[in-house]
Assembly symmetry: D2
Homo-oligomer: 255 residues x 4
């Protein structure tokens, strides 16, 4: 938020890969990021750059806040359900598993090979900063407040995120009805693949695809969402946003 | 169930590491294991060998059904809550992550190194055979039917299971109240460690410990349970059962 | 060798990724592969498809034997030295480390995740079939018989081969002299990168590059050669051969 | 070397796991460790604590320099050959592969999970500090100067070292003759296992065993040596030394 105002002043359009402009509300930002936001003015105009949901806004944006890696799996995983009022808006559970590159490249004991290899654990339970980002986007889709329980886990692999999502339906739904809903909701979105069996992160490595699968198990709706955090989860979706901002086919450079 | 009747006939006491005698009801067995049970007679007398909950029964048992790897994390994770009526008995979510040795030693494409390395995915969604085993034990603890949603995932590591469990409380509870409950519930149980931060599977490798942590997040109760599937999840708890059956301190050979 | 004769009869040009046509001498084939060669006729005309060394022959070939993964590292690693008579032609040591995908996709206990993860061992000591392939190509470069000691090792990773090669010089040589030799030898070869520090396999993953580094240590010449066995070691070099056979720039489809 | 003199002054016997007292010659120390030795007085009396070779000296030692992880594989791998004059004393090649815990617990980019996972590379080529330690011990065994080429590699696993060693025999030798030599040389040494097939590091994990295998390939002698760097390579052999220093069976606490 220090680097960007001068760029915007010079009429340079910006795609920001940091988390600085993702949350619309500076108070929410301060609450989760534990510091005051320094650029409330531009924050108002920033567009949340999840192209499958907000692609029209991206096209005309001066400042795009590139979305977080985890949030994309959760938001695209739940958007069809919340947009159709099919699930309760409170209490969806997002249990996410991420490879170690999601933690960045700065050496820390947590990411030291003998510490995280052959190991699985949850972290930032109840306090991960991607929680309000997920809720903000889903609330925008629902037109009403949405709240979630988000629990990230560190997995001994380089790259890849799998989110397993559990929601309570508002009415009885059949699995094939949901599969059809997902297919039609993402029709014409080349980077979302709706599958009938749970996706494996390895199928998405090196690509901008986000793979989804929806199941009904004992009265709950389960959604599985997989992506490569280093492509779809960051730079890939930035290229996709760039393409939309400058009038290119959104697939250019990504297939 | 073919090998065991002749042993029992010769008055040899048996600890069975297979799944054959874990489910009390031959009909439930047939439904989940897709074959008829061949030894309904002995099934009636088998004791489910989870020593922290059913240790007195184990002591006098002729036939102990050694518990499954996943179920131990789920059952010991939820037992304090269901025994005190603190959670709704329907709809708890058990999201489990297991190392590859949990799948056995027979080579299969699923466990071929380049297939499961650098990869995470869910499997047996809604159909894993450990589901009725978890429900049977928790129902025994609750005195009422308990049902759960159980989703196992394959993780690229040799050994270790982490279960992340989400339950809905029946009344408002404070986290420290729950921590105290878990501590008193497992007092005198040397292999259950109640921790205040989420456990890592690596801390349990090579041991018979099952590590638990309970948290309250946005009105849900979260329980984290970690173990080494090759020790606590199988042979270790068998030794623990053996010790109880033959009057030894249950820690002999396991510390 | 069953599938290919009918294709050649129909004047279809063939790049064979199997090992069937790599060894010119059917007797050597029989000795190492423990079966008789069935197509001695076409064997005579097959071209060994290592484009950096035999690219002119590839251009006009009807049948190209695509080279093995290990041999490419050893042959390209030693070719500058043997072609200039700088090393003794007997006794070079090729100590190779390969990811598990080099062993193919058929499930075997050796490649079962819990067997090969967290493990390193040598295999096929003194008997690996790539030995005569390495010697045949280096002998062609030297114009005299070359023999080597080749020891492959299985490493717990998906892909990548690193060969560490030790040779005895025939005269005193300086390291910078050798670096210059390698640079000039591979000038104009876009897929061989001569580096001044030992290469890491990860730098080559997903590419057709073969990275080389030459060092002098206590009177021995050490060569380090790294590649991705799934690209450079197999299909990538096949595309490179295809480009040469059909008159395309050899980089097409590979950058 | 700062902590130890006061301990010795108080007549406390010391097993030092650092590298400070491993090299007898302060000049060699300065050359490889790039700093002056501060305690030349005690250096003279330090015993190199490789119990299979220098166990009698260990028994009476006031100061034991616990050996390095790599050197133990190289020294025990070559000792039977040099002690019998069976190999040339110059030019043996030690190609070692180590898990990441060998690099210590301090976070560094080199050991950051996404850097070293799915990767293999050589490091410290020609300059690793364990080189003079290997040479000093083998020279003591031979009674003449021994020099080696030592090349360590970093492997994506937690623990384990495999050294593949290549030597030139001074006369024609048969493989079975060598196997017998190794067996008799290590008779009565409970932690050295002579095997007939190349050892896998995983077979030694969690143990104080050092597994050896000797082969003859095309006129060279190959030795494979595997150990767990965290037990045999450090603390395990320290316990073994302790047992010898205080008159216990050397296996106490290690089986």
């Amino acid at each position: 938020m220090e680097a960007i105002p001068p760029l915007l002043d010079r009429e340079i359009r910006v795609i920001d890969l940091s988390a600085d402009y993702r949350l619309r509300d500076a108070k929410v930002y301060a609450e989760w990021y534990k510091e005051l936001h320094q650029d409330a003015e531009n924050l108002k105009h920033a567009v949340y750059g999840l192209p499958e949901l907000f692609g029209d806004n991206v096209a005309g944006a001066r400042l795009v806040a590139n979305p977080g890696c985890y949030p994309q799996t959760a938001i695209l995983g739940l958007a069809p359900l919340v947009s159709h009022g099919l699930i309760e808006l409170t209490g969806s559970i997002i249990d996410s598993k991420s490879g170690v590159s999601g933690g960045g490249r700065t050496p820390k004991l947590t990411f030291h090979f003998p510490e995280c290899n052959e190991n699985v654990s949850a972290y930032s339970v109840g306090s991960h900063r991607h929680t309000p980002e997920i809720e903000q986007a889903l609330s925008a889709v629902a037109g009403k407040p949405v709240s979630v329980i988000f629990t990230p886990h560190l997995i001994p692999m380089d790259r890849g995120i799998l989110s397993t999502i559990y929601s309570t339906p508002t009415r009885t739904v059949a699995e094939n009805e949901l599969v059809e809903l997902y297919r039609s909701y993402y029709e014409g979105k080349p980077f979302v693949r709706v599958r009938t069996s749970p996706p494996a992160t390895k199928d998405t490595v090196g690509t901008n695809f986000l793979d989804l699968c929806v199941k009904v198990v004992r009265g709950k709706i389960l959604v599985f969402a997989a992506e490569d955090n280093l492509v779809r989860g960051a730079s890939g979706v930035a290229v996709q946003n760039f393409n939309r901002m400058f009038g290119f086919d959104e697939r250019i450079g990504l297939m």
